[in-house]
Amino acid sequence: MKFGKKSKVNVAIPTTSMPDIIFMLLIFFMVATVFKQYSGLKVSLPDAVKIQKIAGSKRHVVTIWVDRNNQVVCDDINVKKMSDLRQVVYQKMVADPQIKIALKIDKDVDMGIVNDVHQELRKASALNVYYFAIPGGEL
């Protein structure tokens, strides 16, 4: 009886089309990449259920962070006084009128601050806001 009889079948994976596949992946990632990521502030977002993606491209999104020490950052600008936020957002609005505001606010922030942010955004005519939240929670 012969054990371990090896069949002589050629089992090489064809690699001729590998560069094409890599090219496809490369083009996908090149198109999907947006080189405008601000590190922002460290916030722990609240949870919500009925959340949705921001309609349109990420290129038209301005992010405002508010952390639990009531520090406000708009994209890469540190907003020291709340009344400066209006000017910062207004300038972004002039450069690109279709911007949307992504609000990344810590869940322990008081509504007084959030309302101040609302008022500043209204004065800058930036009315489309998204309250960022992590999926979860129960209804």
């Binding site: 490369l26 090149m30 869940k107 004065k123 005519s125 960022f132 209804l139």
Partner: protein, 135 residues
């Protein structure tokens, strides 16, 4: 004299290392890409200026959220997870209902998002964010 004498030289670009270069580029873009999975609750703020829109009393539901996260809807204390059911019933009874959401200065943002989430769940389209009263 021979003009335009062509040299028979091989002028092909070597393409053997092409896949290596593409691989490097691929790895670079793989590392730099951050595919956003973050999502949020959308809301449209009222336009600037104190334009008071008169809403008939019967089309208005007042919702108050206090600093302890308690919710008062038209004078009744309700639980946060009851909001969607109650508001849905109210909207079915009156499709023109506007929900006026008012918060305290010290209300936690988390409670506000939970209330807003409940209103979205109840398919409330007309949500008005009232300014908090000045002390």
């Amino acid at each position: 004299m021979l003009l335009g004498k062509k040299k028979e030289k091989d002028v092909e670009i070597p393409s053997a290392s092409l896949s290596d270069i593409v691989f490097l580029l691929l790895i670079f873009f793989l590392v730099t890409t951050s595919i956003d999975t973050e999502k949020g609750l959308d809301l449209v703020l009222p336009p600037p200026g104190d334009t008071e829109v008169k809403i008939p009393k019967e089309n208005l539901a007042n919702m108050l959220v206090n600093a302890q996260g308690q919710v008062l809807l038209d004078g009744e204390i309700i639980e946060i997870n009851e909001i969607s059911r109650i508001v849905r019933e109210k909207i079915q009874a009156n499709p023109n209902l506007v929900i006026s959401l008012k918060t305290d200065k010290e209300t936690r943002y988390e409670d506000y998002v939970h209330v807003l989430d409940q209103l979205k769940e109840a398919e409330a389209k007309k949500i008005s964010i009232a300014e908090p009263d000045e002390d």
